[in-house]
């Protein structure tokens, strides 16, 4: 709450949580829980930064601060799963061991636009090279890195290009990691006497191959998906948690990607058919083909306020509402490795909530309030 006045009535909930901390009750809202369906008119009870209860008949405790949200719509804060917002402008390293935490910059003023646009969690990735490092998940609030941090590492970030050099680089990195995995399965050599064996630092590539660390690979042209799968052929493991960050143009590969039930992160925009300007609802086609779709809101803070509108446009063009809602919340949360903390309105999850004054798919809904960890971080002044 660094940039705007705090309403006096809500001052209490700014305080650190203490045993006696009052609860906050958001009442009368239509609640889109994402994972547990829709509540036509209900209450969300928040306490200690967490969601305590969600439902139509939630008992509102005495002394609870009531936020009246009749005719409003409550949904989880949006999750931006793949961004350079929050990072250093000069970029970062290009080693798999690099973690983006080191470049997270609390002093940037982008966060205001981020929160105002409904985003409550972001994943910052380190850029540079085919294997550029590990991302982190953070929340756009707080004045120190530690206050912002949510989860680290979130995923191994990879970047694909259809060329011999990049394919070989990925191939040899995976081969080295696989050799390391094989070697680790053998009984360890006895430690030299008097010196306890030092545990080796975990190899993020090996962790990715084993499914212990998520991976996100950025692809630009649809053909690069085929080339990547060609590289992955011998390293494939069902345990792997891989997300593909790509463009709407990839609808062309929907059948091959759908057959594998790929998890995608893509911009909420229609693709254009070649040789026509006919729009293709790429997200809808890919979802129908069997892919799991999450949205990529973009890296320019000035375009973030249009995010909800863009998604609403795809819904108007035929994208299923449920798919759209998940693509803004739980899917990107899972990509960032924080699906257990954020991305849906369920008891025990972080109290990251967006209140809209109308149905999100009207295209004209305004973001009225944004809660992060139970605290109002943005509200639209009348």
């Amino acid at each position: 709450m660094r940039y705007w006045a705090i309403p006096a009535i809500l001052w209490a909930i700014q305080e650190d949580s203490t045993p006696g901390e009052p609860a906050v009750a958001i009442t009368g809202a239509r609640i889109l829980t994402v994972t547990k369906g829709e509540i036509v008119k209900g209450t969300i009870l928040l306490r200690g930064g967490k969601i305590e209860a969600v439902g139509a008949d939630v008992q509102i405790p005495d002394h609870a601060i009531v936020v009246r949200a009749a005719d409003w719509v409550a949904l989880p804060g949006f999750v931006h799963p793949y961004t350079r917002i929050g990072g250093s402008a000069s970029g970062s390293g290009s080693k798999p061991a690099h973690v983006a935490k080191d470049e997270l910059n609390p002093a940037r003023d982008d966060y205001r636009a981020v929160v105002r646009s409904g985003f409550t969690t972001l994943a910052l990735y380190p850029n540079g090279g085919p294997l550029s490092g590990q991302s982190i998940a953070y929340k756009p609030r707080g004045v120190t890195r530690e206050q912002m941090m949510l989860h680290s590492p979130a995923y191994l970030r990879m970047n694909m290009e259809a060329s011999t050099a990049v394919k070989q680089q990925l191939q040899s990195a995976f081969e080295a990691a696989r050799r390391a995995i094989e070697a680790s399965k053998k009984p360890p050599a006895p430690a030299p006497p008097g010196k306890p064996a030092e545990p080796a630092a975990p190899d993020p590539i090996a962790q990715f191959l084993k499914g212990e660390l998520r991976g996100v690979i950025e692809l630009t042209q649809p053909a690069e998906y085929l080339h990547f799968r060609q590289v992955m052929q011998e390293f494939d493991d069902p345990a792997q948690k891989l997300f593909l960050a790509l463009t709407p143009e990839f609808y062309r590969a929907k059948d091959v990607m759908g057959a594998r039930k790929e998890r995608l992160l893509m911009r909420p925009e229609p693709a254009a058919e070649p040789y026509t300007r006919a729009p293709v609802n790429a997200a809808a086609e890919l979802a129908e083909a069997g892919c799991e779709v999450g949205f990529l809101p973009g890296d320019n803070p000035s375009e973030l306020p249009a995010f909800l509108f863009r998604v609403a446009r795809l819904v108007k063009l035929g994208l299923a509402r449920e798919t759209a809602l998940k693509a803004m919340t739980i899917v990107p949360a899972q990509a960032a490795g924080v699906g257990d903390r954020v991305g849906s309105l369920e008891p025990g999850k972080d109290a990251d909530i967006v209140l809209l004054d109308a149905d999100p798919w009207t295209g004209t809904a305004r973001i009225m309030k944004v809660f992060i960890d139970g605290k109002i971080e943005f509200e639209l002044k009348p």
Binding site: E161, A223, R252, T276, A278, P279, V280
Partner: protein
Amino acid sequence: MKAINYQLAAIGILAVTGVGAQESSPAKPSYVALIGGDVETVTDGLRRGATVLIKDDKILEIGRDVDLPEGTVRYDVTGKIVAPGFVAAETRGLGLGRARSQKIADALDPYQDTIQLALASGITSAYVESGSGGTFEDRTEGVSATSAVIKMSYGNLDGMLVREPAAVNLSSWISGTAAQRYQIRESFRKAQEFIEKLKDHESRKAAGKARPNEQPPKADALELYVQLLRGEIAARMRAPTADATFAALALINEFRFKAVLLDVCEAWTMPEEISRADCLCVMTPRRKWPQDKASNRPSGSSIEQAAILRRAGVRFAVVPLAAWIDTGGIAGRDLQTLPIEAAFAVRGGLDERTALASITITAAEVLGVSHRVGSLEAGKDADIVVLNGDPLDYRTLVDLTFVNGRLLYDRSKSPFYDHLK
């Protein structure tokens, strides 16, 4: 959303459904039959009213009485011409992605838009070169590009590469400096020496006379020259003029390697010499080269070149004036009308059979892939076009294009030409 995505969806769906179909049931063969068309086999004449049966990605059988296995997908092509997909012996800008790559195999883009237009033009295989940054430049003197033969297998990476490298570009023998020519001759000479050394090593080894642990000699940077001398790969040399052609022939006659002369315009003035050197040519009948008024021998281009070469027994491929897909509105001069360029060779007196061969089997020979594509024969790749008329007629359109047994273009379902008769 379906309503909005009304146009090219058909193409996309056709393409990728094929991919999915094969991947989902790799064990069960799929059969496709083209029934009742006049089958222009190219290598075995015209078979009227015949059936072409495809099994997976290969041609299984061609004939009048073909038993169709259960579940065969049938296309009635009565009244149509069934021909091998056209082979473009030279192209630019087809099928490669955005990145520079050492190997073309790693940069193929089967989703490239222009592939759809190539398919609509009946082209199923093409020679591609990726200009600079190739490995050969590092490895071999005088050779500067990677090359491959690829298929227009829209949406499918696996069946796209036919061979790489497809040829060695030795144009610098003609256009290069004296020093470059010297290096090329030296490389050939050293490659010859290497082959002798290797023979020697092998014969001594066979006779038990080799030293213990004796390693065979290594070709290293000469590898491509060794392949050239062994006839495993062809050299391509751009030789528009008679002078250039004489220069090329001198090298070919000295080292006896498989060669392709590109862009020949004055070859008609020396057909016997080319025939004796046993090299293939690539030409464009309409390509013009001015007469050299100072020359004491015939010069300049001739529309009759193809016919003259044919009479001398020289085999050649025809390529269009513009070796790419041009969508700017200029008609009949680019890859989209490859057969029409071959028809111009007929204008110059060439027989129609050889003209059709010049964009199918001979073009495949030029590219070293005639064992797989370029004609309709049992066992060959099922790269097939169905045409609504004589292949060399200026009005003829492609109705269906199959690559590796998959229907990737259907005129009635693609917007490009569905409004034409």
